[in-house]
C-alpha cells in the first residue's frame, strides 16, 4: 500500500517536472485567484470590524442654548443618566470644546487666535446602552431629553452608521458574488491548463489504458498533481496576500479618514490561512477531475 502511494506520488512529481511551464501556469493562476478572493475577504472583514467599533461608540451630543450653572450641573447629569438607554453622560464646557477644536486643527490652530474661548456651545455627550444604539432607541432618548432640558441642537451619527452598515452588506454581497465568480473562473482556467497537459500526454494515457491500468491507477497521479499544484498555489497566495495586506490594504484603510489610530487591522487567522491552502488543494483536485473525465476513457 505504502509502495503504491509512493509510486503515485513519484509519478505526479515526475509529470510536473516534465511539463514545468504548464505546471507553473496552473499554480500561478490558483495563487492569484485565491489571493484576490482572500483580499476581498480581508477588506470586508476589516470594514465590518470598524463598523462594529463605531457602533459601540455611538453617542448622542446635546448642544445647549445656555450652559447650566455649576450648582445645577451634577443634578442634571444624574437625571440624564437615569434616562432609559443612557449609560454615561459627560459635560463638555465651551472652553473644553474650544480646546478640542484647536487640537483637531493641528497646525492651523493659530487661526483661532483672538477668538473668544466661549464661542462654542456647551454640550452633553451621552453614551448609550447597546440596546438603544439604533434609530428608534435614539429617538426615544431624544423624546425624554426634550422634556428635561432646553436643547439647541442634537447630533448623532446613527443615520450615517446605518447607511454605512447597509453599504457593508452590499459590499459583502458583491464580494461573495465576485468571489464565487472568480472561483468558478479559476476552476475553469485550472481545468483547461490541466487539460492542455493531458492533451500533451494523450499517448501516455492511451498506452496506460492499453496495458490494463485501471481508471484509478490512471487518474490518481493526475489528481495528486492537481493537489500538489493547489497546495503550492495556496501557499503562494498567502505570500501574495501578506504583501498586498502590508502594501495596499493596511495603507489604504489607514489613509481612509474614518480609521481610528488605535484600530488594529485584521489579517487571516491561522485556521483561515489553513483553509486558504486547503481551498487551493481542492481547486487543484477538482480541476484535474473535470479534465480527466474527458481524456481518460478505457
Amino acid at each position: 500500500m505504502l509502495e503504491t502511494v509512493r509510486y503515485f506520488f513519484l509519478r505526479a512529481l515526475r509529470n510536473m517536472r516534465q511539463w514545468p511551464f504548464l505546471c507553473s501556469a496552473a499554480i500561478l493562476t490558483m495563487a492569484v485567484s485565491l489571493a484576490t478572493i482572500a483580499t476581498f475577504f480581508l477588506i470586508v472583514v476589516n470594514i465590518e470590524q470598524l463598523a462594529a467599533r463605531w457602533t459601540q461608540e455611538v453617542q448622542v451630543i446635546v448642544y445647549l442654548q445656555q450652559p447650566p450653572s455649576s450648582q445645577k450641573l451634577p443634578e442634571l447629569i444624574t437625571k440624564m443618566e437615569q434616562l432609559d438607554g443612557v449609560e454615561r453622560v459627560a459635560f463638555v464646557s465651551p472652553a473644553v470644546a474650544m480646546e478640542r477644536f484647536s487640537e483637531r486643527l493641528g497646525e492651523d490652530a493659530a487661526l483661532l487666535q483672538g477668538v473668544r474661548s466661549d464661542l462654542l456651545p456647551a454640550s452633553f455627550e451621552l453614551a448609550l446602552h447597546r440596546n438603544f444604539r439604533s434609530q428608534q432607541g435614539i429617538e426615544e432618548i431624544i423624546r425624554q431629553l426634550e422634556n428635561l432640558i432646553p436643547v439647541d441642537d442634537l447630533r448623532y451619527g446613527q443615520t450615517w452608521l446605518e447607511r454605512f452598515n447597509h453599504f457593508i452588506s452590499m459590499l459583502r454581497f458583491v464580494g461573495a458574488f465576485l468571489g464565487g465568480f472568480l472561483l468558478f473562473a479559476t476552476l475553469f482556467i485550472v481545468a483547461n491548463t490541466i487539460r492542455l497537459t493531458l492533451y500533451a500526454r494523450r499517448d501516455e494515457l492511451e498506452i496506460m489504458a492499453l496495458v490494463g491500468a485501471t481508471m484509478r491507477f490512471i487518474k490518481i497521479p493526475f489528481m495528486l498533481e492537481g493537489a500538489i499544484q493547489g497546495f503550492v498555489g495556496g501557499l503562494l497566495s498567502l505570500l501574495f496576500l501578506s504583501f498586498s495586506f502590508s502594501m495596499i490594504i493596511s495603507r489604504g484603510l489607514n489613509a481612509f479618514w474614518l480609521t481610528p489610530m488605535d484600530f488594529d487591522l485584521l489579517f487571516l487567522t491561522a485556521p483561515q490561512q489553513l483553509l486558504l491552502v486547503l481551498a487551493g488543494v481542492v481547486l487543484g483536485v477538482l480541476g484535474s477531475l473535470s479534465s480527466l473525465r474527458r481524456f481518460v476513457r478505457i
Partner: protein, 229 residues
C-alpha cells in the same frame, strides 16, 4: 480461447468494418489475419481487447463474454492480452526499462518483481544492454522489439500484433517473427494481422482472410511445424 459469433461492426449505414464474422481460435494457435487495407483486420483485433465494441454478435475471450463487458472490468481483460502496433506506441520520454516496466506497474506489481521480469523480457528480445536509452535513440526494429517485450512481459494469454513489421525491412521482420514464434511455443495464442503474404511462406500457419469485413478464407497449412525455410 477466442470465439466470435455473427459479429458485426457498423459505424454508419454505409460504413461496415466487420460483417457477420464467426470464427473460433484455439488456445496456443498462431493465426495470420490477412486482407487488403480496409478489410477489417484492425477492427477485428480492436474488438478483441475492447477498444471497439461490436454492433451485433458475441465475442468470447478465454471463456468470458466481452461483448457487453463493463468498463471497469476491461483493464483486467487487457492484462491477459499483449498488443503490438505498427507504430510501436512507446513512451518517448521514458527509457527502455520504464517503457517495459510500465505494463507491470499498471498491474500493481511490486518493484522487485518488476525489475526482474523487465530484465528477463528485454533479454529475450536481445535489448538488455539498452535499458537506459530512450526510444528515439533506437532503430525501428529495436523499438518494435521493445514493444514486443512490453507485450510479453505480462505473460499474456493472447498476443495481438497489428502489422508489426509494416515499417521494417525483411531482416528485422524475420527477427520479430522469431519472437512471436517463441511466445507461441510457450503457449501464447498469437494473432498477427498483416497483408505481407511472404510471411505466410516463411512461417506457414493458419490464415484467416477478410474482405470488406467478411470472412472469405480460413486455411490451415498442411504441416505447420517444420515447414519454415
Amino acid at each position: 480461447m477466442i470465439q466470435l459469433y455473427n459479429v458485426s461492426k457498423r459505424y454508419s449505414r454505409d460504413s461496415v468494418a466487420v460483417n457477420d464474422l464467426s470464427l473460433k481460435i484455439d488456445k496456443g494457435e498462431f493465426v495470420y489475419v490477412t486482407g487488403a487495407s480496409g478489410a477489417g483486420k484492425t477492427t477485428f483485433l480492436r474488438m478483441l481487447y475492447v477498444a471497439e465494441r461490436p454492433t451485433r454478435g458475441q465475442i468470447l475471450v478465454d471463456g468470458q463474454n466481452i461483448t457487453r463487458i463493463r468498463s471497469h472490468h476491461i483493464p483486467y481483460l487487457r492484462r491477459k492480452i499483449g498488443v503490438v502496433f505498427q507504430d510501436f506506441k512507446l513512451l518517448q520520454s521514458r527509457s527502455v526499462y520504464e517503457n517495459v516496466a510500465f505494463a507491470l506497474e499498471a498491474q500493481g506489481k511490486k518493484r522487485f518483481e518488476v525489475s526482474k521480469k523487465v530484465y528477463q523480457a528485454l533479454k529475450e528480445v536481445g535489448l538488455e544492454h539498452r535499458l537506459q536509452r530512450k526510444p528515439q535513440e533506437l532503430s525501428g526494429g529495436e523499438q518494435q522489439r521493445i514493444a514486443i517485450a512490453r507485450a510479453l512481459v505480462v505473460d499474456p494469454l493472447i498476443l495481438l500484433a497489428d502489422e508489426p513489421s509494416g515499417n521494417l525491412d525483411l531482416g528485422v521482420t524475420l527477427e520479430i517473427m522469431e519472437l512471436f514464434k517463441r511466445a507461441n511455443a510457450r503457449g501464447t495464442t498469437v494473432l498477427l494481422a498483416t497483408h505481407d503474404y511472404t510471411l505466410h511462406q516463411q512461417f506457414p500457419r493458419r490464415v484467416i482472410t477478410l474482405d470488406e469485413g467478411k470472412l472469405v478464407g480460413d486455411q490451415r497449412p498442411l504441416d505447420s511445424v517444420g515447414a519454415e525455410r
